[in-house]
């Protein structure tokens, strides 16, 4: 690539040394940005220069850089994962911006996602929602044959769509209420649509919604921002399903059960 193709951009990045420290947006000029760089590669280049100048590099989360692990996630110009639809931050490229752009980069903002440093937030609240009910109970032993349990094709498709959730937290970040409804609903739908998930279907809806509330996520107003921000394009139809399962569960008499083994 010729030198003329490079861009000069300015990033305004949230800098915060630690969880309890105060933070502020700091501007950095980044010359020599190739349009073929990913957004995170642009930050890598900036970090290299900061390190050379003896400054602390910008902390941000990332892992696979293939859009499948769910580690990365930045609020870019007020849009979760930036301007491209169905794209994680790592898969966003600088060609989506123009020479001279000023780009504001902030961490996910939510009470349930405390900032650890700069752009890194603690998303373990999502793990605790999963732990509260995002599983099925199955006897251990040899793996059953894949075709032993018939699954209707539409249910398999919908469950697969919901299972595409990578747990990045963009839904929470994009929601004006800071709600984790799309995440929780995706997990509830992915298991609740399948025969293997029926045994705990209603208890799961109750537990996961309760955990979501306990983690201080906001409630759902159905703004639709989560669906738009989701890099896996998970539909708010899953939220309808979660609500339906929760309400049916709430209407059922509670089941007494032993913690383990038989009663």
């Amino acid at each position: 690539m010729s030198h003329d193709d490079t861009m000069q951009i300015t990033v305004r990045v949230w800098r915060q040394p630690g969880p309890a420290a105060g933070g502020a947006l700091v501007s950095y000029d980044v010359p020599g940005v190739s349009p073929e760089m990913s957004f995170l590669e642009m930050l890598d280049v900036l970090n290299e220069r900061l390190t050379e100048r003896g400054e602390l590099p910008i902390a941000f989360d990332h892992d696979c850089r293939e859009g499948i692990c769910g580690m990365c996630g930045l609020m870019i110009n007020g849009v979760a994962h930036g301007p491209e639809k169905a794209t994680t931050t790592c898969q966003l490229h600088m060609r989506s911006f123009r020479n001279g752009d000023v780009i504001t980069v902030e961490p996910w903002r939510a009470t349930a996602f405390p900032v650890l440093a700069d752009l890194v937030v603690d998303r373990r609240a999502l793990d605790r929602i999963i732990a509260s009910g995002g599983f099925i109970s199955a006897p251990t032993g040899g793996a059953p044959d894949g075709n032993a349990i018939p699954v209707p094709k539409p249910a398999a498709d919908q469950a697969m769509d919901a299972a595409a959730c990578i747990g990045c937290g963009a839904c929470v970040a994009a929601c004006p209420n800071g709600s984790a409804s799309l995440f929780t609903a995706a997990k509830i739908s992915h298991l609740g649509l399948l025969p293997q998930g029926q045994a705990e279907r209603f208890r799961r809806a109750l537990s996961m919604v309760q955990q979501m509330d306990l983690e201080h996520f906001g409630s759902c107003t159905l703004y639709g921002e989560c669906q738009e921000a989701c890099p896996k394009e998970i539909s708010i139809d899953t939220i309808t399903r979660m609500n339906g399962d929760f309400l049916r569960a709430a209407a059922q008499p509670p089941v007494r059960e032993a913690a383990t083994g038989s009663i």
């Binding site: 902030e106 209420n177 800071g178 309760q210 201080h216 996520f217 409630s219 309400l247």
Partner: protein, 219 residues
């Protein structure tokens, strides 16, 4: 009782309460709007309708009033509590926030609700109790309506309030069925044809009355 408390405590439970009470409200405003249109059939017809409601159907009206009062109170309390939770869920705002698909109706839902509450209180004082209506005369529905709406400022207030009602219904009539988990799945779940129709028909149906009074069509 414990289960009911747990239901009310959960965000989805509170939303379900808002959805059910909201649907009660939607059904009420549709009925109220249709009843109002009798103003175009003249004073006698409208006053006869008023006498029907407050005479033979009196018990029914009081039953409806109790249901509506309970619905409004529950709707407001749940909205307030959920709003406080949502505020607490994001104490640090974004420096830059660019809404993508959320509608004006959804973003103004809370303040629109406050405006509708103010309207509701004024409207009851104006045409049910008569405290703020100089021309008020018990039983003269048509005369009371003219006395109120012939003041241009009041008519404009009524029309603006119906704009707020349209926005509230546009979001609420659509989202309530999703909150209750009964909306059918859709390839484009943010589309809402039925809610648009309800919002426009109800708001226009109400607003034509003050418009007609200002224009002198109803006098």
């Amino acid at each position: 009782m414990h289960r009911l408390a747990a239901f009310w405590e959960s965000s989805v439970g509170k939303k379900a309460v808002m959805a059910v009470t909201g649907i009660v409200g939607v059904l009420f405003v549709i009925g109220h709007m249709v009843g109002n249109l009798q103003v175009f059939q003249g004073a006698e017809r409208l006053n006869a309708y008023g006498h029907l409601l407050h005479g033979p159907l009196n018990e029914l009206i009081w039953g409806a009033r109790v249901v509506l009062l309970v619905a409004v109170v529950l709707h407001m309390v749940a909205a307030w509590q959920l709003t406080m939770r949502s505020r607490a869920a994001r104490p640090v705002p974004y420096a830059v926030r660019t809404p993508q698909v959320s509608t004006l109706a959804s973003r103004t839902l809370r303040w629109g609700g406050v405006l509708l509450l103010a309207f509701l209180v004024y409207h009851l004082l104006d045409l049910t109790i008569g405290a703020v209506n100089p021309a008020f005369e018990e039983g003269n529905v048509y005369g009371n309506l003219l006395g109120s709406l012939q003041r241009p400022l009041i008519a404009v207030f009524y029309i603006v309030a119906m704009g707020a009602l349209a926005l509230h219904l546009y979001h609420g009539a659509w989202s309530s069925l999703r909150t209750l988990g009964v909306a059918p799945e859709s390839p484009s779940p943010l589309k809402r044809r039925v809610a648009v129709a309800i919002a426009v028909i109800v708001a226009v149906g109400f607003a034509v009355v003050p418009v007609a009074v200002i224009l002198g069509i109803v006098r």
